[in-house]
Symmetry: C2
């Protein structure tokens, strides 16, 4: 298998993008990635697009062809494939792109992710998102995603003595980072008190524990390591890209506050990259709810189970901490256009490893990791990157 590098990244601003259509968002991110790589669009040989629910949100399927067409890449008849695994759809697109180059079947591939969530009403959005869970055994009984993650939080707090304040600290830290990210949906800091007083959504989760509904897109250009030097002096090498599956229903898990797919994907990634946990300088994890960030840190092996709350409270996941987590602001503050999130995480880690992360830059970052979850953990994709 050949070595693969990221040579271009592109992001739209995340938020309620009333003035941009689904296709415009994705084309904007792709054009920025192509410009960033300093190449011609014609050099791209294959495309993968992660999108969760275009069918429900914008009544559009066949998204690979749509985006290839509106990007001007259909003229070369390149293959373009949509991948979907709910909120891990972008992660899947990235992994397929990596494998396509690693195998030698193509040299230059673009992986994008896009979601336009605000074109439908709130109830429709919530119901579409419930399609990420088991419709017959979860959705039909009225449980939506805040409810599912609330059950995880209740179980976790009961087992490990996590405090409500520690949980709030995750959101506070991510908003601090988001305030330093020019594309973030929420560029303002919040306090523990604000989280504790925000509207109760699903006990114990409050409004400021939840990632928002977001429009946005992200794209990255990958190529073989040999070719990378043609485009950049600072290629970011993909050391590992792994994916794991678990039961789709939360109630079928052996332990609802441990994500076995995260454990499996991360173990495979560290093995593939031949690295230890302490080698990682920063990580973007899937904090769709505050509790999810704590589970992620532990299940990836950065903390013992039950200790991530204290680790966070002590500032170890903040910008100056031992392991900065979600420097982008995470899903919480940067926003969560579900199909785009897995690619946005890659963009953030690449920006950090290049030293281009501005006010949220981690000094001397050399190795970074991403963690992208579909549903309550039925799909997990993890990636490890190194400055080459």
């Amino acid at each position: 298998m050949r070595e693969v590098a990221v040579v271009g990244i592109g992001l739209t601003e995340f938020g309620e993008k009333w003035d941009s259509s689904f296709r415009e968002l994705c084309v904007e991110a792709g054009a920025k990635a192509i410009e960033d790589a300093g190449m011609d669009g014609d050099q791209i040989q294959e495309m993968f697009v992660g999108n969760m629910s275009g069918g429900r949100f914008v009544l559009q399927e066949h998204i690979g062809a749509l985006i290839a067409d509106y990007s001007g890449l259909a003229t070369n008849h390149i293959p373009s494939t949509r991948t979907e695994a709910a909120c891990a759809s972008g992660g899947l697109a990235f992994r397929q792109a990596v494998n396509t180059i690693a195998s030698g079947s193509q040299d230059i591939v673009i992986a994008a992710g896009v979601e336009k969530m605000t074109d439908v009403s709130g109830g429709e959005t919530t119901d579409a998102l419930a399609g990420a869970a088991d419709r017959e055994w979860e959705g039909m009984y009225g449980v939506t995603f805040p409810g599912l993650y609330a059950m995880i939080a209740v179980d976790y707090m009961h087992k490990y003595g996590l405090t409500r304040e520690q949980l709030a600290q995750v959101a506070v830290k991510n908003h601090y980072n988001g305030a330093r990210n020019p594309i973030a949906q929420y560029r303002k800091e919040i306090t523990v008190d604000a989280v504790m007083k925000s509207t109760l959504v699903a006990d114990p989760l409050r409004l400021l524990d939840c990632s928002p509904v977001t429009d946005g897109a992200a794209a990255v250009i990958l190529c073989s390591m040999e070719k990378a030097k043609e485009f950049t002096d600072c290629p970011i090498k993909v050391l590992a890209s792994t994916q794991a599956t678990d039961t789709i229903s939360l109630h079928d898990r052996r332990d609802i506050s441990t994500l076995d797919a995260t454990i499996a994907a991360a173990d495979r990634a560290f093995k593939m990259a031949k690295l230890e946990r302490e080698d990682i300088d920063l990580v973007e994890v899937h904090d769709c709810f505050t509790i999810a960030e704590l589970c992620a840190i532990e299940d990836m092996g950065f903390c013992k189970k039950g200790e991530a709350g204290k680790f966070t409270e002590e500032g170890e996941t903040a910008l100056g901490g031992k392991l900065p987590v979600n420097t982008s602001g995470g899903l919480k503050a940067c926003g969560h256009p579900v199909g785009a999130t897995g690619i946005k995480q890659v963009c953030e880690v690449v920006a950090q490893l290049r030293g281009e992360a501005g006010k949220r830059q981690i000094d001397g970052a050399e190795i970074g990791m991403t963690h992208n979850v579909g549903g309550t953990g039925a799909t997990v994709v993890t990636n490890i990157f190194r400055r080459a």
Copy 2:
């Protein structure tokens, strides 16, 4: 790149499956494929599932994880990826599975396709299917798939003098084949007269020119050629698997009755397989409407443009003809569960090359091909197979 073989196939019956759920259909096809391969499910290392619109038809996304889970494969946390390109979703799943083995990243992979279309009303089905076209520039103006293919048919008839009777002959031939396929939705023969007198849907296309709305699933198991001998005495080698993209809107094409993506995919496939058109013993093409079969035969290079009507009328595409086309009954008579079709085509060609196609067997078939289209030709996947 390593050689890849198909070692197991599985199909549900196609039709209106009121007694089976979406997940049950896919698990049934997968279990049959595993049984056919004579392996344990635990030996499968990765899964790809083609599905067009689970979000609209059964309110379910995250289909890769759902199917892995209900197949009992989530316990090993194998990666499972849903691919989507409208009616070519199954074709994409197959190609990704081939590439995953060819690259050496996995040894044994399952590719499945599934669609459950009859759980919603007819209007909702038509609108969901319109998501395969350009929602903003086609769907919003009221054009649905029969309308789009009717425009192709009008243009084709005007240019090449195709007769209405020749067009009807495609449906008659496919029903003849479908009557000999135990899983087909319509196992009965029809006449040219019946097609000509059937309800007008979108001039010149009549009801019996159109593929039906279908529930069904299909699965195939692929492995490296070295490993194939462990499972079967008759592995079917994948000589080529190619994919091409075109504009999503029909009106943006240089010629609406020529599918450039078919030309591109087929040219790449013949080059990859190092074969000529005359080497092909049978082909399954994407006859979502009768006119589509004629365009496919020509654009793949089996006939000159404008001559497929005569070729069909003369019986050359029938079971005993020069190039049997759609021995399964095609989308027209076998049925068209959109996400499953690309995999069903592979199952049919594999059955033929193994000599297991019963009353529709082509004597001595050694090399077969499949052609799977998304939308009006924005995505095309072609595959070439040889009895090893």
